[in-house]
């Protein structure tokens, strides 16, 4: 089992987050401190080497220019004046007797020559011993020279650096804990907000949304994504609810009638009345089948099915066909259907579904409107427009959106035959073709405008 998974198992979340943030701060600060330590240390040693080099050069110069006899005097003088910057020097003869310098004697076991020795020494005139870097070399006639300089400073620097390191670590622990706690609290608050909204939605209230304004970009993005998802879910659930409610409503009345008619047929009566009752049942069944197939058609159009069967359609011809199909029925009701627009209008789309949508709208216009009914098409370049306009009572502005909804049939229309899905189907078909439906005032009457967008590939036909 890894350490992390052990932590996950045993520690509560805030401490876990604090430890993780501590580890992160260590990972970041430790290399920096080590780098500083190494850099200052080597800088220091360079300076000590320089100093020892200078002192050795000075002594050698005095020895060669003034002669061996004058050297001890010159050295003592230089030590006093601080000309020998290292501060420690010793000159002994071949037998080891001190000739000049500020050390009592040659430190034991110190080899000659040597480049770098670190020795604790007690130079004359100093109150306490200190750590020195010592270099030794042989002069002529068996004489030996020692120069040195204190490196206690370096040691103190090292100690200070280690202290700083420890201090930084000590500081990182509480800071990490606090930072971790703060991050945890923020995350917890967001999570709780999301959780609350989720709980409300689980409780059946779909209207709640997350606050997208607060909490930084990432949380705003998350909130926006969740809200968009909720929006879509609410829409779908609402649709489903409407479908079920209205389907139940729309199927209940024919079912009730069927039941009554079947009872009438079952309890006998004269032959032709029984026949009538059975025919009424069969009419109601047809009506129910129409409602169901219209529902399926709308759903599949809304799901984008049918795009694979786009073909070149002459919309002007399509309008003439529909007018021809419906004109006899319209004329029986004293209404005329007039087609307008260009003699041909080529468009790439699904002929069957456009035909069905237009037929539904014309059917509505004949049943609920008044004549003359104008149907027409116009080429708008990027899109085409189809319209079906009647001179009936129209639909009041405030009810238009409602009229477009699936099943949201206007109350007065419920009494008339039909599935009540005509407008919803027309809208689904328009959307399948990248367009939409508009209900406008025809002053008087209703003007339904379908906009169908042209797909880019019309030129390939």
């Amino acid at each position: 089992m890894s350490i992390l998974s052990a932590l996950r198992l045993r520690l509560p979340a805030p401490i876990r987050i604090a430890l993780i943030s501590l580890a992160f701060s260590l990972v970041i600060t430790l290399p920096v401190l080590l780098f500083v330590y190494h850099q200052t240390d080597s800088l220091f040693e360079d300076r000590i080497h320089d100093r020892l080099d200078d002192d050795v050069r000075d002594v050698l110069f005095a020895d060669s220019s003034s002669g061996a006899a004058a050297l001890p005097g010159l050295m003592d003088q230089a030590l006093r004046t601080g000309e020998l910057r290292g501060g420690v020097a010793l000159l002994v003869d071949a037998r080891g007797h001190k000739l000049a310098g500020n050390l009592a004697g040659w430190p034991p076991v110190l080899p000659t020559p040597s480049e770098w020795n670190e020795i604790r020494l007690y130079p004359e005139g100093q109150v306490r011993p200190d750590l020195f870097a010592i270099r030794t070399l042989a002069l002529g006639d068996g004489r030996r020279l020692l120069v040195g300089t204190t490196i206690g400073e370096r040691e103190r620097m090292r100690a200070a650096l280690v202290e700083a390191l420890l201090g930084a670590l000590l500081l990182a622990v509480p800071l990490g804990l606090i930072g971790g706690w703060v991050i945890l609290k923020i995350a917890e608050r967001r999570a709780r907000a999301i959780g609350n909204v989720a709980a409300r939605i689980a409780g059946g209230d779909f209207s709640h949304r997350l606050d997208e304004a607060t909490g930084g970009e990432e949380f705003a993005m998350l909130a926006a994504a969740i809200n968009a998802m909720l929006e879509r879910i609410e829409e779908l659930v609402e649709q489903l609810r409407l479908v079920t409610d209205s389907l139940a409503h729309d199927l209940r009345s024919p079912l009730t009638r069927m039941r009554a008619n079947l009872e009438r047929a079952a309890t006998g009566g004269v032959g032709h009345r029984r026949q009538q009752a059975l025919e009424a049942v069969s009419l109601d069944i047809d009506r129910m089948l129409r409602i169901i197939s219209a529902t399926l058609e709308i759903s599949s159009a809304e799901a984008g099915a049918g795009k694979e069967h786009f073909e070149s359609v002459d919309l002007a011809q399509l309008l003439r066909d529909i007018a021809e199909i419906y004109n006899p029925m319209a004329e029986e009701r004293g209404v005329r259907i007039v087609t307008e627009g260009p003699p041909t209008l080529l468009y790439r789309g699904n002929r069957q579904s456009i035909g069905r949508a237009v037929a539904n709208l014309v059917d509505n216009a004949v049943k609920y409107g008044d004549g003359p009914i104008d149907i027409g098409a116009a080429d708008k370049g990027e899109s085409v427009e189809l319209w079906i306009a009647d001179r009936g009572p129209g639909i009041p502005t405030e009810l238009r959106e409602q009229a477009l909804g699936k099943y949201r049939r206007l109350e007065e229309a419920r009494t008339t035959e039909g599935s009540g899905l005509g407008l919803a189907l027309a809208r689904a078909v328009a959307r399948l073709h990248g367009g939409d439906i508009e209900l406008l005032d025809n002053g008087p009457g209703l003007r339904v405008v379908l906009t169908l967008r042209r797909a880019g590939d019309l030129s390939l036909l």
Partner: protein
Amino acid sequence: MTKKILVVEDDATTADYVAKGFEQNGYVVDVARDGRDGLFHATDGKYAAIVLDRMLPGMDGLAVLGALRAAGIDTPVIVLSALGSTDERVKGLKSGSDDYLTKPFAFSELIARVEALQRRGPSGAQPVVTTLRCADLAMDLLARRVERNGTRVELQPREFRLLELLLRNQGQVVTRTMMLEEVWDYHFDPGTNVIDVHISRLRKKIDDSGREPLLHTVRGVGYMLSDSA
């Protein structure tokens, strides 16, 4: 000669309903419960028509159809499907079926379509006919002339096609949706009495001369042209 119908349908209720309906109309019916069995039966080629469900266990209905056509068997096939959209219908027709009917359907609609298919015969084998007759009603397809008892009847082009459809299926019921499909090439249920008005206009033109009426209403189903009421 009794006609044989093959019903390929996995749902027992639907299969029984369809089989009983055909039997009552004088057919002999074989029922296959899955695609493989259906294909096995159908390869005999002894059927007048095949009613083929779209969704079958074992072998999809359209795959059965494809295999049949590939084997050179051109028995008329009508596909039954719960997939009701016009696109499914196009897909079905494209894979070689002769007609397509959406579930749920009325049996009267199914048998009307099956009988129309047999009348039409295997695709391509249609004999060249220039004149259609029913009693004293005659249609000259070349001159596009219609006469009732020797008197010319003036018809609009669509009325002509409607009458042609009825004449070609005389003695059989033609449903409203069949009319919308054949005459206008739209595949939706017009629902209201849209087609009825067209028929009543046609009836006025051909039956109004005091002669015996030829165009009969079959209640709840459609219309039929025949010389005996």
